[in-house]
């Protein structure tokens, strides 16, 4: 199509409402966060310029721990999601009776409002009466009840598992699509050469899934890094801060303690990390399919 002036104008008319809306509700607050982070804004509305004070305050041993914990939490959550997603997609791709029903049954954690799924996990983790503790005792694996959310180390893993559970459906369906887009003649050729099923999986399926796995890990990394609901509902960052990630810490500072300035400085730090992930994502996806993208 020739690029006429009227066409360009029409395109912009179509775009403008969405662009303006996102600018008002996302871009403006982003700028506002940045400005706020240099002030002592709080509920009392005394807004004075304080320079780098908020930033100097957050760089201490406790916060370094929070950052480190956020990365560990994200790393394990994303890795486990990828492993279970690959496993699930492979299983659901097998041509056995009932597979469309099984595919449908993977959806609920994604469809259900997040908070409801988290409440269900909250009960599962209940030390005295929950299913996990109950079954562990029934099979004699533990002597007494295990209150998973009461101890730092178990609470940490409990929140990760719940995050994995919520993320797995989308990862699985995405990987399933990736497997199905692999050309069938590759398998046929390998089969003619006498390659076994496992060999074909390891030498054809897995390597050709790598782009999908990388793309999904990047997207999942960003979502997991931002994950708020799960930790907030299950532990509120406790016990004694053992599940406090950067997002939780920011929320506690800004909304809980009403220290807007200090909270904003933390939010800016998160934005910097997110921008780095974003940048990496663009680089990686561009390398994966260089002919695409304007």
């Amino acid at each position: 199509m020739s690029v006429q002036k009227s066409t360009v104008i029409f395109a912009w008319i179509l775009l403008l409402p969405a662009v303006l809306y996102v600018m008002a509700i996302v871009a403006y607050p982003l700028v506002d966060t940045f400005i706020l982070s240099f002030t002592d804004a709080s509920l009392r509305k005394t807004t004075n310029w304080v320079g780098w004070v908020n930033y100097e305050k957050i760089f201490n041993a406790t916060f370094a721990e929070v950052i480190l914990r956020t990365f560990i939490w994200t790393f394990f959550s994303v890795s486990i999601k990828m492993i279970i997603g690959t496993f699930g997609a492979t299983m659901l791709n097998a041509a056995v009776p009932g597979r469309s029903l099984f595919r449908l049954l993977t959806m609920p954690p994604w469809i259900v409002p997040m908070a409801i799924g988290i409440f269900m996990w909250g009960w599962m983790y209940n030390g005295q009466f929950g299913m996990i503790s109950g079954l562990l005792q029934r099979f004699g694996l533990t002597d007494g009840p295990v209150a998973f959310l009461a101890y730092g180390s178990t609470a940490f893993w409990a929140t990760i598992i719940t995050d994995v559970w919520i993320g797995v459906p989308l990862v699985t369906i995405y990987f399933l699509a990736a497997i199905q887009s692999i050309p069938k003649d590759l398998y046929e050729a390998a089969w003619t050469d006498g390659a076994g099923r496992f060999y074909r999986f390891r030498r054809i399926t897995l390597p050709l899934m790598v782009p999908a796995i990388i793309t999904m890990s990047m997207l999942s990394l960003i979502a997991t890094f931002n994950s708020f609901d799960i930790i907030w509902i299950l532990t509120q960052g406790g016990p004694s801060g053992q599940t406090t990630t950067m997002i939780i810490d920011t929320y506690q500072t800004a909304i809980g303690s009403k220290k807007y300035g200090e909270g904003a400085a933390r939010a800016v730090l998160i934005c910097i990390f997110l921008s780095l992930f974003c940048f990496a994502y663009f680089r990686v996806t561009r390398r994966l399919n260089p002919e695409k993208r304007a």
Binding site: M1, V8, L14, A18, F119, M120, Y251, F277
Partner: protein, 285 residues
Amino acid sequence: MSSPAMIDRYRWWEIVLIYCGIALFLAFVLSPFVEGFLVSLKPLSQLFSSPYRFWPENGSFEAYRTMWVSVPGFGRYIFNSFFISIIVTIVVLCLVIPASYAFARFEFRGMGILLGAFLTVNMFSGAVLLIPLFRLMRSMGVLNTYLAMIVPGVAFLIPSAIWLLRTYMIRIPQELNEAAYMDGASHFYTLRRVILPIAMPGIIVVAITTFIGAYAQQFIFALTFNSKTEYMPLPVGLFAYFGKQEVIWNELMAASFVGILPAMVVIFFLQRYLVGGLTAGAVKQ
């Protein structure tokens, strides 16, 4: 779609292994629902008794009745949740359909950058921008109204909706546009009468994913921007079952199932579109 079965048949033990794998996978995915449902059938006394029992003993649907009594506003929470999600979905569609059409059909300077910018926005969650959003909602005077949850909700769902719908619209043959222009149709007429009907399956997928997303976001925005019970959506409203002493778990679970049932039914009927649309979008991306 041909499958490996056309190459060589599974041996019996391979089929057993596959079913075991699927069972293991689905056990992880579904166990909270199974346990949640069983909890909703148990009387409270049985829940808080040792030793742990998996199956309810003389279970009943009693909690599904009492939940309406112990939290009188519960019906309102469900209504609020659906109301907010539906409005958010409608607004997102109105903004996103023209925008994705522009991205899919026209080439203009800055398009790549703008698309990238939308993707970047997608990566900032509402949680990061909560403080300025709070100030913005306050200065707009919409705190403690539906708008406090609708306005920010829309913004964070626009980018992914644009990306998904764009991949759909790109696949509509360009010739259709040209034929319409030949007949003297305007840009706007072409979009409304030629493109929209063909893009319908894609629009349905975007509508569903947006609806689900709107439902999921309600927690943090409602928690921060709304303190009035009359506007409270379901995810936050469920906290009403957290009593002073203990959580009324059987009613909480019953309420959860009542709350999600309508959404589940809708999605069950639309899932054909959903799986197809998501995978198509995913592969293209």
